[in-house]
């Protein structure tokens, strides 16, 4: 009888531990946020011109290589696009019009606002991939969660 009670207690305890661990796992997954990009290690470092050319040559291959990867891109700012809540920095190949555009993460919007056209900057962000724009008739590559590298 005593052995049975001990066994029952152990089973209940194990059940509670499993339930708490499961709930903890679920809570962790559902409350998890993306790491601040400034603290992420870049998978690739490349200049804007080379990146744009790689997408122009073969965007399927380039998407496989770069999409959802953290990339540091260096280049000249050709345009700063501001709207109510957004500041996007653009680096374009002025010959073809193809471009890479960087949407900054919330905590780095202030530094993005200080960037001027013609500045040479290095920006780290999550590459969302590129595509040929039917509207612009050029290749465009987009980034999210961006920050200036120091």
């Amino acid at each position: 009888m005593s052995n049975n009670r001990k066994k029952l207690k152990s089973i209940i305890l194990a059940g509670i531990i499993i339930a708490v661990a499961f709930a903890g796992g679920i809570w962790y997954v559902f409350t998890q946020k993306f790491t601040d990009t400034t603290k992420e290690k870049a998978d690739y470092t490349i200049n804007a011109f080379d990146l744009i050319n790689e997408f122009k040559k073969n965007d399927s291959l380039a998407n496989k290589k770069y999409a959802e990867k953290i990339i540091t891109v260096t280049g000249l700012v050709t345009e700063v696009e501001t709207a109510d809540t957004t500041v996007n920095i653009k680096m374009a190949d002025t010959t073809s019009g193809s471009y890479a555009i960087f949407a900054f993460q919330q905590q780095n919007l202030t530094e993005a606002k200080a960037i001027k056209e013609g500045d040479k900057v290095s920006i780290k962000g999550s590459c969302s991939g590129g595509a040929y724009s039917q509207i612009l008739e050029t290749e465009f590559i987009t980034f999210k969660r961006c920050a200036l590298t120091k």
Partner: protein
């Protein structure tokens, strides 16, 4: 002489065509599929390419689907996965349509004008006709186009257990905010 006139005419014609098309590469689209069971499936896309023909009211936009930025990494993975939007296979979504009452919008006068929008929305490789009401806000040289509408995910071939379980709404709200300068 004739050649010079022809070149001038062509130059003027292309200048006029260029002037009547406003373009931005920083439009914003918000996607909200949250339910009372799950507040996570919502995202912003801040790098939307959009064009407005200020002569005809033709309006178009296109997005790279992986540009939708979620707060939660797991939700972003689900959104892009082959069982949902399958963004490797269908990397972009597009809208091509018209503001059907564009003749009532006075782009030379500041104000907020109601806009009836009709066009074809392509998501997940499926094209459906949509109609919605929005607004055009004219402020100096800036034209802001705003609209909010819902889509039936099933219409675009998007199904799944999370939708059946009520964790993702069957009718996500799509909010479009595009500023043409």
């Amino acid at each position: 002489m004739k050649k010079t006139i022809l070149i001038l005419a062509l130059a003027l014609s292309s200048a006029t065509m260029f002037a009547q098309k406003k373009i931005t590469t920083s439009g914003v689209i918000n996607f909200n599929a949250t339910t009372s069971l799950d507040p996570l499936p919502k995202a912003d896309n801040k790098t939307v390419v959009a064009a407005l023909d200020t002569k005809t009211g033709a309006i178009a936009f296109e997005v790279i689907m992986k540009s939708f930025s979620f707060a939660n990494p797991m939700m972003q993975d689900h959104f892009n996965s082959s069982s949902w939007l399958d963004t490797d296979k269908f990397p972009t979504s597009t809208f091509k349509g018209n503001i059907t009452n564009f003749s009532t919008v006075n782009l030379k006068k500041d104000g907020t004008y109601p806009a009836d929008v009709r066009g074809d929305l392509t998501i997940h490789g499926v094209t459906k006709s949509v109609t919605t009401k929005g607004t055009i806000v004219v402020s100096g040289k800036i034209i802001a186009a705003n609209a909010a509408f819902t889509v039936q995910v099933a219409d675009y071939g998007i199904t799944g257990q999370a939708i059946d379980a009520g964790k993702v709404t069957k009718e996500p709200k799509i909010t479009v905010a595009i500023e043409f300068k």
